[in-house]
Amino acid sequence: MFAALTDPGILQRAIPGCESLTATGPDTYEATLKVGVAGLKGIYKGTASIRDKHSPGSLTLAFEGKGSPGFVRGTAAIVLAEEGESTRLESTADVQVGGLIAAVGSRLIEAASRKMADDFFRQLSAQLG
């Protein structure tokens, strides 16, 4: 499960709107993401890196991306906990949003982030089986 989280192929299929994800070094990636909600999608180019790996339990994913709607930066701390036959995945994220989307979309950012996080973990779970 942990290994799957650090597999770029799985990650690319897991991340909604991820059009490309290439490893640029150990635990670092470049990605292009088309994200947003419904028709308000923007293309973001950015980097992600995995840090603080403590196999099999936890890791931190740091990311930053920028596009014309603005930029996104943050970290997500992901913890895997064995629960019998299955594994529960928990995450807490600290995300900073800036630029146009922060300015005009601020009322929707919390809800949109929740939705995108939900989509991510749903898709990730599907990938991980």
């Binding site: 920028k66 014309s68 603005g70 930029f71 930066r73 900073q96 949003v97 800036g98 630029g99 146009l100 922060a102 300015a103 005009v104 601020s106 009322r107």
Partner: protein, 781 residues
């Protein structure tokens, strides 16, 4: 249609400017079309603080129709530094270049500019510019910025403190506090506001290579100050520079400035050898046009048990934003000039700390420092009254100077010109039916409603101003020309953008010179036409500019009398002038009209020996003091307990700006000023999040008052002329918003007083009011 049988001055006549404006026949900056004109679009920082690692303009340059894409490295040396005209001792100032250098320090900071053959391509090009930022720590809260160890807005300054300013005035403040029976403390937050003129900023620059002259059309309040300050930036000599303010769709102080974009456009026009236009979007306006207010004040007021106020200590933090625009650090010091309001308060101590944060700069915004003063003193009067159990009107009256005590010097070091605060208060109570208002409030409260009345008895300082006290001269220039056809051309150095001087100056001229008002033309706003001026701000245009016009009128009439005397074959002391006619009743029945006198002045066949031809005069008027308009505003509110929504049920304003040239224009200024206050007290605020992201960048999120928010005002006036200028007038452009904010705030707090709530910061939004009601506590920020 003005009543022509009566003097024009004093008539509430419709404005001469309006027909063209309401028909859409005025020319604004965006209406300008010059042959070969290019369009500029500016890329701005999405980060509140970051190092710029790299800017890649290749993709942008490759777009067909793009003429140039430039960054700070390309233009900053040629454009100079954005100037600050405030003379503050020991001011620590960052060097603010026109485009960002190696670092951005607020969201909206201009980073690059794309110039193209049309504005759509220019906008596409800014999207294609790729900037690599390295984010840096951000400080957005002034109370954090002042602390040791705070992230620094400008690391090279080593501190966020731009300046400290300490003033003590009047008597011994320590003695005052020793003699006090009680010392009351209070903290007030005067929130940051976004001016939001309906027309955002914009400019067109054009360089004539043959003549080596540069013309800049800009939506500005200050064409003359621009002409004085731009040469130091762009290297074009003052007398090769022409600045034109076309119709300007609102300024309110935010266009009283020298903006980086203006210098940038001038440089681009010269560099690219083509006219260049730039018009900002609303979001750019919200992010990169100056903001207003943003002060936190801690006040201590020393009082005797009978309510006598012995002294006030004030410690203010002022959030200047990330760099200094034209008057940024000076605005908080203006608060100190009228901190004691309309009251005899013998001692003050004022300490101001100006702080840098990663936000847009603050600067002058309708009232510029004086709304903060009036808000604090009028709130403090209510606080003192409440604490001591004294009626808040009696407390105010106890401290009013008497009319005969004017000119009245205050502990703040200024001398109020004239005043009758008792009369304004009495008039407001009368037209508002004060006793009935009290009864209505009692009845509403008995029915379980939250009902309150607030008032403010304000004075403010304007009519800017005596040159000794102004950074670049406070005089104003005017010119009046009697044409050979007996039409009159007036040229003024003020720059009206809604204040109506085309009408008021025509009224003054038509009356004093005795010509039909339709024969008068008032020119302004073009430095090639009005070659001197100090422009429009600080409620100065009619008080100072109008006085210059009056001086010119007097000179013209005097010269005309000389010519008339010669034509009537008598001496000047036998010539009478009235209603446009020169006569000499004991000497001859012959009378001369302006056409005859002006004809002689220009055809010059029979002028008195030694007299120059022509019938034109220009004058500089130097005011010996500021003017101090005053008034009383009374506001009644009702609060919906369940939602916290505040409804203004009655609003009375009595304002004294001296004699009113045009009561319709005065009323318009007062109405607009009160609307500004309704917004400030009840819902407006500029919001940055903790990362310095601007969250109120569009009208989706920044609420402005609309027609439905404005109650039916009851307006009145008293008239107390000023001795400071020949018109006796005081200025009224800012008075409405200065007087109204505390009246409305005091009303809300009066409504909440039965619940034990004694304070709430601005804006008093429904949510804040509801929270306070729910928790029966104060709501501070």
């Amino acid at each position: 249609m003005a009543d022509q049988s009566a003097p024009y001055v004093g008539q509430a006549m419709k404005r001469i400017e309006d027909p063209r404006l309401v028909r859409g026949a005025g020319t604004y900056t965006d209406d300008l079309r010059l042959p070969g004109m290019l369009h500029a679009s500016i890329l701005r920082s999405p980060h509140a603080h970051a190092r710029i690692r790299k800017i890649d303009t290749a993709a942008a340059k490759a777009i067909p129709g793009v003429v140039a894409v430039l960054t700070g490295a390309d233009v900053n040396a040629a454009c100079g530094l954005v100037p600050c005209a405030a003379a503050i001792p020991d001011l620590k100032a960052p060097k603010h270049t026109v485009l960002a250098g190696d670092r951005v320090y607020f969201v909206g900071h201009p980073v690059a500019v794309a110039i193209a053959t049309d504005p759509y391509i220019a906008r596409d090009a800014t999207d294609a510019i790729d900037v690599d930022y390295d984010p840096l720590p951000v400080v957005t809260n002034m109370e954090d910025a002042v602390k040791e160890g705070s992230p620094l807005t400008h690391p090279d300054l080593g501190t966020n403190v731009a300046y400290t300013h300490s003033v003590a005035g009047g008597g011994d403040i320590d003695e005052a506090f020793r003699k006090a029976d009680r010392v009351l403390k209070h903290r007030l937050y005067h929130q940051r506001l976004t001016p939001m003129p309906i027309e955002p900023r914009g400019a067109v620059a054009s360089y004539h290579t043959g003549e080596a002259t540069l013309t800049l059309w800009s939506s500005t309040q200050i064409p003359h100050l621009l002409r004085t300050l731009l040469p130091g930036m762009i290297g074009v000599a003052e007398n090769k520079l022409r600045i034109v303010a076309p119709e300007v769709g609102g300024g309110f102080g935010c266009k009283l400035n020298v903006y980086p974009e203006e210098a940038l456009l001038c440089h681009l026009a010269m560099r690219l050898n083509a006219p260049v236009k730039w018009i900002e979007s609303r979001r750019e306006n919200a992010a990169a046009t100056i903001h207003g207010r943003d002060q936190i004040g801690e006040y201590e007021i020393a009082v005797k048990n009978d309510g006598t106020i012995l002294g006030i200590k004030s410690r203010t933090l002022a959030d200047l934003g990330s760099y200094l625009q034209l008057l940024t650090p000076a605005v908080p010091t203006l608060t100190g000039l009228v901190l004691t309001g309309s009251y005899r308060i013998p001692a003050v101590k004022i300490d101001i700390v100006g702080l840098y944060t990663n936000k847009m700069s603050t600067d002058a915004y309708r009232g510029a420092g004086r709304p903060e003063a009036t808000y604090l003193i009028e709130r403090l009067m209510d606080v003192v009254a409440h604490e001591l159990g004294i009626d808040r009107i009696e407390l105010r009256q106890k401290h009013f100077p008497q009319p005969k005590e004017f000119p009245f010097t205050t502990a703040c070091g200024v001398t109020y010109d004239s005043g009758d605060y008792q009369a304004a208060l009495a008039e407001a109570k009368k037209i508002g039916n004060w006793d009935q208002m009290l009864k209505d409030r009692a009845a509403a409260r008995a029915a379980g409603k939250l009902s309150g009345i607030g008032l403010s008895t304000y004075v403010e300082i304007c009519g800017m101003g005596p040159s000794k006290a102004m950074p670049a001269g406070g005089w104003e220039w005017g010119c009046v020309r009697m044409e050979i056809s007996a039409k009159v051309t007036v040229i003024t150095g003020v720059s009206p953008h809604g204040q109506g001087q085309e009408t008021t100056f025509s009224q003054i001229v038509a009356d004093r010179i005795g010509v039909p008002i339709g024969d008068v033309v008032v020119l302004h706003g073009d430095t090639n036409v009005a070659h001197y001026g100090r422009d429009t701000y600080g409620s100065r245009a009619t008080a100072v500019g109008g006085s210059a016009v009056v001086m010119c009128i007097n000179k013209i009439i005097a010269k005309a009398k000389t010519i008339a005397a010669h034509l009537l074959e008598t001496t000047e002391d036998h010539v009478e002038f009235a209603n446009g006619i020169f006569s000499s009743p004991g000497v001859t029945t012959r009378q001369l009209s302006w056409a005859e006198v002006a004809g002689e002045a220009y055809v010059a066949k029979n002028l008195p020996p030694g007299l120059e031809p022509g019938l034109e005069a220009s004058s500089f008027f130097e005011p010996e003091n500021f003017t101090y308009p005053f008034g009383t505003h009374i506001c009644a509110v009702e609060i919906d307990r369940d939602t916290g929504q505040v409804k203004i049920t009655k609003y009375i304003a009595v304002d004294d700006c001296g004699p009113q040239i045009n009561p319709l224009i005065v009323e318009g200024q007062v109405q607009g000023g009160i609307a500004h206050s309704i917004g400030q007290v009840l819902f407006e605020r500029t919001v940055y999040d903790e990362n310095g992201q601007l969250l109120t960048g569009e009208f989706m999120d920044y609420p402005l008052p609309r027609a439905a928010d404005i109650p039916e005002y009851v307006l009145g006036a008293t008239v107390t002329p000023t001795p400071v200028n020949p018109l006796g007038i005081k200025g009224v452009g800012e008075a409405g918003t200065i007087g109204a904010t505390p009246a409305i705030a005091n009303a809300v707090l009066d409504a909440l007083e039965p619940l034990g709530i004694t304070h709430m910061d601005l804006p008093m939004t429904p949510e804040r009011v509801w929270q306070a009601i729910k928790t029966r506590s104060t709501a501070t920020v």
